[in-house]
Symmetry: C2
Subunit: 200 residues, 2 copies
Amino acid sequence: MVAIRPLAMVVLELLHESPMHPYEIQQKIHERQLGRLTKVTVGSLYHAVEKLQKDGLIEVVDTSREGKRPERTTYRLTSSGVESFRCEVLANAAEVAVEFPRFAMAVQHLHTVRPGEAVAELRLRAKALREGLGVADVTIAELTARNLEPMFWIDHQYTRAMRQAELDWVERLVDRLSTGELVWPEAARRRVEELEEDRR
Amino acid sequence: MVAIRPLAMVVLELLHESPMHPYEIQQKIHERQLGRLTKVTVGSLYHAVEKLQKDGLIEVVDTSREGKRPERTTYRLTSSGVESFRCEVLANAAEVAVEFPRFAMAVQHLHTVRPGEAVAELRLRAKALREGLGVADVTIAELTARNLEPMFWIDHQYTRAMRQAELDWVERLVDRLSTGELVWPEAARRRVEELEEDRR
DNA sequence: TTCTGATTATTCCAACTGGAGCGTATCCGG
DNA sequence: CCGGATACGCTCCAGTTGGAATAATCAGAA
């Protein structure tokens, strides 16, 4: 039971369709914008493929060269690869992973800056989130229009839903700060001034 | 303008309060459960501290040893550190980072498994999320009872809100799948059977 | 014809991460 | 007073990651 990282999952998904060489995988990732699901860079892609092979989830079909170009190695899934992929999809669906969104940390540190500054930045985030929602809506409209099976793109809906929830929360926070429902701790306020002084 | 990773942010936050040596930082991270905001391990902590020093955001106050224990190096923020920390908090508050939740990927790959399996795993996730919400509520109740300034723990509220949104979405999805509002693509269904055959 | 820039494919290395391991020191029971 | 558990505090290394560098081919412009 070897660990399968996100990028490896994308590779498995593509090989699930048909055998391919790494460069082709790279192309498809771009075409289909699979980059929105994992960070993909050239280096890590080749490493991921190498590791999958070492772990026996994929195997070499053949290595050919056209002219004097670098050799192309084509890979395909092994049956162990098919099984691992399936397990991993199910596991990721069921288990709530521990993740570390940047914004959660910013929120936790928010009290270390001035209230005014904080609200200004939160308003910027709200704006960005609204724009993101707009883009998502357009994408979803396009996909609907194309009459593609919805199951193939429910992840767009998921991402949209989460963005919406974040926007709601941010707007609520800005609100609570403006109305005074939520107050800035006096201690924190003093600490900021103090550090400001020190730096002179 | 050097990049500041999440772990480095936690270090800066603690040094923001008072000078400390790495081991003490480690202790405080545990005490205050700062581990829920970033992945913290011993190794990466020492590296993070070293890098912060190289980048001039923190500096050595003194290195002392008690008895024959290993030397303890105490660090403190430089003024450049104070400034960088502030900028980073604000930047993280305003910018919507590109992140890669595991579940989003699972959702995108869901069509590669059998509908029945998928729904079962989604129900498990919903259950886990509900439990998570329960825990969050207890924590929040405790914090409220302790009369701690709310600004010091709004991140718990944020996390709770996002979990709730995810739960709503998952329940909705299970629903749509059960009522037939969302159908499993026939092509996908066939592909699963096909691979199943192959492996015999 | 030759130069320029895009395309095809991969290698390489510097940086980062995680966690096992190591050498004290102190505390506590028998 | 001796042996084992636990606390202290750090180093080291194997594994990953990101992206620059490389290297050959091909299409089109000058």
